[in-house]
Point group: C3
Amino acid sequence: MTAFVRNQWYVAAYGREVGRELLGRTVLGEPILLYRTEDGRTVAMSDRCVHRRFPLSQAPSRLTGDHVMCGYHGFTYGTDGVCVFVPGQQRIPRTARLKTYPVIEQDSFVWVWIGDHEPGDVVPPRAPWMDSPDYTVVSGMEPIDGDYGLLVDNLLDLSHETYLHGGYIGTPEVAQTPITTEVDDAAGIVHVSRHMDDAECPPFYAKSTGIETRITRWQDIEYHAPCLYLLHSRIAPVGAPGPGPDGSDPHAFHVEVVYGITPSTERTTYDFWAVARDFALGDEKVSEFLHTSNHTVVMQDVVALNALQKSLDTEKPGYQELSINIDTGGLAARRILARLAQAGADQPATVAR
Amino acid sequence: MTAFVRNQWYVAAYGREVGRELLGRTVLGEPILLYRTEDGRTVAMSDRCVHRRFPLSQAPSRLTGDHVMCGYHGFTYGTDGVCVFVPGQQRIPRTARLKTYPVIEQDSFVWVWIGDHEPGDVVPPRAPWMDSPDYTVVSGMEPIDGDYGLLVDNLLDLSHETYLHGGYIGTPEVAQTPITTEVDDAAGIVHVSRHMDDAECPPFYAKSTGIETRITRWQDIEYHAPCLYLLHSRIAPVGAPGPGPDGSDPHAFHVEVVYGITPSTERTTYDFWAVARDFALGDEKVSEFLHTSNHTVVMQDVVALNALQKSLDTEKPGYQELSINIDTGGLAARRILARLAQAGADQPATVAR
Amino acid sequence: MTAFVRNQWYVAAYGREVGRELLGRTVLGEPILLYRTEDGRTVAMSDRCVHRRFPLSQAPSRLTGDHVMCGYHGFTYGTDGVCVFVPGQQRIPRTARLKTYPVIEQDSFVWVWIGDHEPGDVVPPRAPWMDSPDYTVVSGMEPIDGDYGLLVDNLLDLSHETYLHGGYIGTPEVAQTPITTEVDDAAGIVHVSRHMDDAECPPFYAKSTGIETRITRWQDIEYHAPCLYLLHSRIAPVGAPGPGPDGSDPHAFHVEVVYGITPSTERTTYDFWAVARDFALGDEKVSEFLHTSNHTVVMQDVVALNALQKSLDTEKPGYQELSINIDTGGLAARRILARLAQAGADQPATVAR
Ligand code: FES
Ligand code: FES
Ligand code: FES
């Protein structure tokens, strides 16, 4: 099992999922309650009532104004987690308060800080395309019955597109083209690039862009350990001019594929996935096609990773993997995660908010 | 997990459930076979064949007269558990006998003694309303996927009626009115009383009694650890005369709510529930209404306790609860159960019958 | 749990199950991939890709010619288990090879050798009726959620036919007639015989043979530990002549009941079952009747053994069984299995193929 990295920001939900219904999510094994106040602020607190540990996200628990009322015996909490009502008596015990979690809503995601100390000036990494007028986005979330490390492995090596996702996003060139990997250990970022100069155009891009010829296809991965994965995808007909010196690139189509990789329990993971495009903006048909296609691709991963986890569960201790060049990025990610997990564990615990 | 209390009587079934079909129940982790002899006597014995441990309650095991024949290879047992037939040979091994359990059928329940010694003159506590011409009873049983201690907690603190059972039996006054608790440690009985002088009449009582005004509502709990829970409920229109000095109380409606709380395995429980009333005797419509309503209330508890148990299963060791005044009865019950469990474990094991 | 016996042949499949679709089976806890080459040879190799342990029997893994291509990242293996392709590079790591298993296809079964050394000249035991023009066979396979030892117990003592399979193959005489048991410890074979001179004809035989009178019924069990169970069943009308001095037996009907008992995991088992007859050859109606009847009988065993395993799972350590004469064969089988398991474990591990 891949160790959890504490003292980090994680995607707990899309902003659109958090509203006036109580939402329960488990992040790094911590049960978290999410809801939106009447004036639109997102709050995150422990999803376990201090009284008898009833889950606050479980009906008939409910909101009364901005307060959360436990559905078992009515303990009621404010947005700061402090208990404001208990049944049968006036005095409220001083210790009756829920742990709250720092929250930042950014780029359409609700990020929560899982840590032993406050985030200070540490902020989540950015995925600005998620919430930009220049892009149209389709997105979703699928739970995986597997260690989050399996999803990191999966996404850091796109040669699997050729096999697991053939007919959708994979073509032979993806597996054939060598990659270059760069690791920024200090920042905890792994870059994996694969530039195909003359490749088949897979249906995912052919149908959405209308390109009918072969393409140049660039895949530039930028993984911000532990939680955010960005794939900058550039597609252009073979022979089209490249990006200009100023960075402008009017002859190409750009897709930003974004994944929030959020460990839930030791063997379950939230797979937040999104596809942002800079073409066919607002075209519902293209959006529907890309949503359906990418959901299919995500489900192929989910089915494969669930099966892989089940297999690994029956392996004898000390089983072997065999890594090759394509795994360079994934192995770098594992090293960074191991280091961050160690660093997180080393943090002297300070008073939790 | 709440420790099991041995050397006690437990409700294993309603009398009506025990007949000429073999019935298997697991009480305190012991698999027990129940059936009724041709002359109407209830017998309880181990539900595991001595030969290869096949469950005797599992088809094609069956009764032949008053004998139980194992469905696997035909070992056959008398009502005293002694084996009377084995296949392929005349000689029956001397040790071929099943453990039998002392049984008492009382107040519509089948009580079995789970212990290391005989009950002697210890008898089960009484719930005479269950089987009295002066009461009409509706009842049922629901299994809970949870520690029996969760159900004890639940029933000893009725302030949860206001939240978990709002719209059925809960009104604001239940949670608001302070309780008085009395503990008879020697007898292992906890009393919790809540007398509401002027309360809303919840649908459960309004529809069954016909009262349309506000009510005085008395809840007098009498918990006989470990297995029997009685709630003496008195409802009368506000202003109606109270009970007379002789104990008669003709101006009120009385409901006796009875629970048999039977630990099955370490995290499953049988929840035997009954509602006995001294009004609208024999009125089928009222019976149907009370059966449906109380079954709904029980299922609200079952759903909540199953969810609570699942939550507790993922808690880190040493998690905290926070108790307040309403928990006084429940905490007293826990103390008595812990003491009885200790006492039961201390009993020198004598030859089991 | 019954110990696994290594360095033995096991039935992994029927030959008809192995074709150009990838088939995964788990034998003695080892995940095995089975398929047939274009020229009809059966191959068996590890069902876990050396790269990231993806199951090769899981779609979209597939055959390309006689090569197996992993559905995750495309590692491709020859029939000798040697990797012949990896994505993104020319060089194939020397250690990229799957363990292969010796395979023998014999008597309609696919036998695999599970061992730490090569089989040498050890061959699987024979069941020639499975694949002979003189017999017509019906067969199938059912998985059991139980220790394979439970199935060995079950089949070595047929007195259970009277109880568990009454109305199909059981009659009172089976349980009443004493058995004779012979054990060939060196060869690892247990013989259990029960000859009934004047017995009721159960529907299984009455409807298939047309006999309407009482019968002589011989049951001669020959169990080749660990995997092959043969029941030589002879049925003839009472009074018909016995076998001649030359072994010919024209006045009787012969059924060869064959079981492959293959441990899958510690508590799951493959139950390969077959019924071969030397009468009504090719009669579809009789085949259909015997298939349906024997499948029903097998399912009675499956239901009983699954229930038994569940019961045993909740037994306290040190629970007792009580054995009688009918268990002589089963106990001998257990002793042989324990000795073989010990011997298998004692084998010095040599280089596995
Ligand atoms: S568990 Fe929440 S109020 Fe009791
Ligand atoms: S297990 Fe009951 S007779 Fe064999
Ligand atoms: S797991 Fe099979 S190729 Fe990667």
